[in-house]
Amino acid sequence: MTDRTAVRPYGDTLNDGMIQVSFSLPLEAGPEAQEAAKRLAGEMGIQEVSAVSVHDMGEGFSFHILYGKCKYSVDATRIRVAKVETKAMTYYEINAFIKERIGRRLNVVGACTGSDAHTVGLDAIMNMKGYAGEYGLERYPEIDTWNLGSQVPNEELIRKAVEVDADAILVSQVVTQKEIHVRNLTQLVELLEAENLRDEFILVAGGPRISHELALEIGLDAGFGPGTLPPDVASYVAQMVADKAGKDAR
């Protein structure tokens, strides 16, 4: 039986620690490069390393594939993953919830910001058609949406949000090379704070490398990763608006 306080990788025997690693080195293929690869693996705590493949790639580069036993374990009983805490509701439940608990339609503005032109993810959440069989926010009778599309500057997004008195701002970031997504989102938060608008909106980001944790770190309210469905986002926004309204009322 697995000891959840000390979980190790598994190949074919419990706790054998077997892992696979691959990387390139700026060294010509040969026994030295292979030895360098093994030592690196050693540094990483991989034991009984087998360097099973080496590929010369020209220009003084080699590619290595290794197997070995990772000496580390993790305590799975202590893992807490930051998760969106609101409860998932269905399309019908969400609309009913907004009607009853908020009593007015919600305004939601969305955009792919900066130089990012990957609209498919945002459209999946916002457009009528939706995603994986779920309607997008546009279809919700209790939500009004503004999908600004691609390559929208943060300034313009904020302007629009103010203009329509948005409850929530949805930002999509798909390009992540050189951490550009983190830069873009950070700038958005800073701009909002500078204009004292940060608390006016529920600020939500999404994209293939966005996690709730990362979003919180940057200073947003929530983050949604791969496989997000429109009702996940709608449930979250509705409940947060209701909460806020509750707090404001007190």
């Binding site: 190949g11 025997t13 077997m18 493949s53 594939i65």
Partner: protein, 520 residues
Amino acid sequence: MNELIKIDNALLSRCRTAAGCIADKVVDSIKDKTTTSVERSVARLMGIDGVDGQGVPLPNVLVDQITKCGKLEDGVFYWIGNAMIETGKTPREIALAIGNGDFLITDFPEYTMEEISEAAESVVRDNITLLDESAEERKERQTQYPKGPSPLLYVIVATGNIYEDTVQARAAAKQGADIIAVIRSTAQSLLDYVPFGPTTEGFGGTYATQENFRIMREALDEATEETGRYIQLVNYASGLCMPEIAVMGAIERLDMMLNDAMYGILFRDINMNRTFIDQYFSRMINAYSGITINTGEDNYLTTADAVEEGHTVVASQFINEVLALRSGMPRKLIGLGHAFEINPDREDGFLMEIAQAQLVRQLFPESPVKYMPPTKYMTGNIFKGHLMDGMFNLASVMTGQSIQLLGMMTEAVHTPFIQDRALSIENARYVFNNARHLQDEIVFRPSGMIQRRADDVLKETTAMLEAIAEQGLMKAIEDGMFAAISRPVDGGKGADGVLTKGQHYRNPFMDIFKEKLGIS
């Protein structure tokens, strides 16, 4: 099955004629012989299982004693039956007593075969009933949980530990595997006994023991219920204990058995006569119990070149087939083996693979042929390996193969890890589904490379079979005609376990099998 190429029927019938001739000679030469392993399997069929105080399996205890007394020619049935009359004990009690050193079984007064047969009749019947029930249960479960579309996904587990094997096997079933083969520890095929009980330490595989069979069958029965597909179980009969393992498999409801007429000779240097006798009886057991056999022609291509020696694979398939037919196997249980082993660097190698696969498919349309993955040219480059396995899967679905032994990207590295198997199942499911009806779409050009290659292979096969028919199979093996390996007729392991049947010899199980299977 689609006929994507043309087969020259004249050549085909010449192949069958030659193969028939070859088999006749083999069967003729073994008719009046038996082996220690056949006798131990008769002991098992009489209910003898377990070990003695020193851990020696009881079938060996019994056969060794009779051998020492120089009386094995008369067969164990004779001696056990005789002892049953004399001692009133069950066969298992008799074996245990021998293990305790209580008596020499050959010391008792000897009864006539009629008396013996009568005394042992209920034991024979009860044990046959066991086999019948097991086969019956398979049928029922297969009706309740039908199998998926061909090619079926066949994967191996080989952790060395039967309990770890069940974890990997159940996971594989959930991932979509149809067939689980438990690979055997490296050293087992040369053991002249079958280990006993559950085992947790093997090298490159897990020992084949009856208890291990039972443990895995149970795990797969659960997986069957959870997945709604009947998950088949495979193990290895080949080796020095071929018929014994066949008995164990029949009792524990295995669905397939690796069982090749020549594998042991060529790849394990087991004596020819021993192997031919053992395979003859073991296949009757398989046939009686509805167990599919897997032959091992793929192995040739691990030592010989797949292009140069493509015809030896087909020739061997004809021989394996006809020998299986002689053991009463219906064609639908004869899972002939072949493999995708052409050098991946060869220009148009994929076309030649298709030619060979399609030829085999059309020559043996009723056989659940088993297609083996690339192994020889696999390297530690797991990415390229995964791709080669994908091309193999495509070749299979394009040519309508029956059973697909999935290749693993780590073939050149280690026996499969859980993720290797998961990825390879994903590979096969993707390719099979995405190209499901490709074979219905294409015809190969009549004068193209594929058709010509198939023609050439069939021609060479015919020539080879006719040459073998001329000189006899034993001589052909001596001459190294298969897998570039030569074995002397009298050499090899286990030669001393071959005996000419004595005057009292009787094997009532073989009689029953022959009758049921219509073997003359």
